[in-house]
Symmetry: C2
Subunit: 186 residues, 2 copies
């Protein structure tokens, strides 16, 4: 008898989630710091975001979203809905900044968030504790922390996709093989 292991899903486990969270600033730093300006300001048209915009968005999340919401769950539970998250705050906050300074700030605020997370002293049993999202309704602390991780990765996907698609025409006939350009999931 062979047992098929499901490799497509994992439950949220604190040390595994933190392992991703602590790597994201270094990943974006390695990918983006020092790139020619055209890469940094590229986007997918009209109101879509550039890599520069995304880094600003990630900074704003550290300041207002993840650890603050975890604290609300632990201290006030479902009685106090989270504040809404402003998905456009970075456009004002990043104005006139350099990408290098945004990357530095993201690394600093992420490190601060991870210290804040430790200070909350979350136990496995706390992951089931419930809070209230202003639109999604009841959510758990474990779901919030898993979302923090997946949200990081979603934006690494986005940045890499925005960069890749800059060459949608330049790759010529190869576009059929490049899933990020052809749009197929692959």
């Amino acid at each position: 008898m062979t047992v098929e292991i499901d490799r497509t899903r994992r439950p949220f486990v604190m040390h595994e989630g933190v392992a991703i969270l602590e790597r994201t600033p270094g990943t974006l730093n390695a990918l983006l710091r020092g790139l020619p300006e055209g890469w940094i300001s590229g986007n997918e048209g009209s109101a879509t975001w550039s890599p520069f915009d995304v880094v600003g968005h990630l900074i704003h999340g550290e300041q207002t979203d993840w650890v603050p919401r975890a604290r609300i769950i632990l201290e006030q539970g479902e009685s106090r809905p989270f504040d809404k998250f402003d998905r456009f705050a970075q456009f004002k906050a990043s104005e006139g900044r350099t990408l290098a300074s945004l990357l530095d700030e993201f690394a600093a605020v992420r490190a601060e968030s991870l210290r804040g997370l430790v200070s909350l002293g979350i136990k496995d049993s706390d992951l089931e504790r419930r809070g209230r999202h202003p639109e999604l309704g009841v959510v758990t602390l474990g779901q919030l922390l898993a979302t923090w991780v997946a949200h990081d990765l979603d934006h690494v996907v986005q940045i890499s996709r925005v960069l890749a698609r800059q060459y949608s025409d330049a790759v010529g006939p190869w576009r059929a093989y490049l899933r990020v350009i052809s749009g197929s999931q692959g």
Copy 2:
């Protein structure tokens, strides 16, 4: 009069393409080295690839695909089709290896490729030179080099997506907001 700048496309320019190529090993190193094993071996089901598999695939590309094909274009033009690329070579080649050793090898072979690229002494006018892909037909050197860059980024997208989707269930109601999980382009 305002002039709308198109930020969605770039032509291939050697120093801009190389700027991405030289960053990919560091990006994957920052994202993956030391991650718990469950992340490294996660995939999207059945025959899909894990982050471990993708790093092996990138190594194989350095050895057989990009610079070797550029050399064929410069030396033999359209008269000699490229060798086919084996998309599954890494399953044998990576067997029994650690991720750390694959990351080290990728960094080494990529650095070697970039030295090889410099040694070809490609001028802007060479980017129009033509070769023959066994399936796609006539392609240019510029298209090959742009594809090398986009292929790197495509696999950074893939690795980040595979990791994020491990939490497809763990994020609960937030899955509606996470484009990498919901599947919407965003």
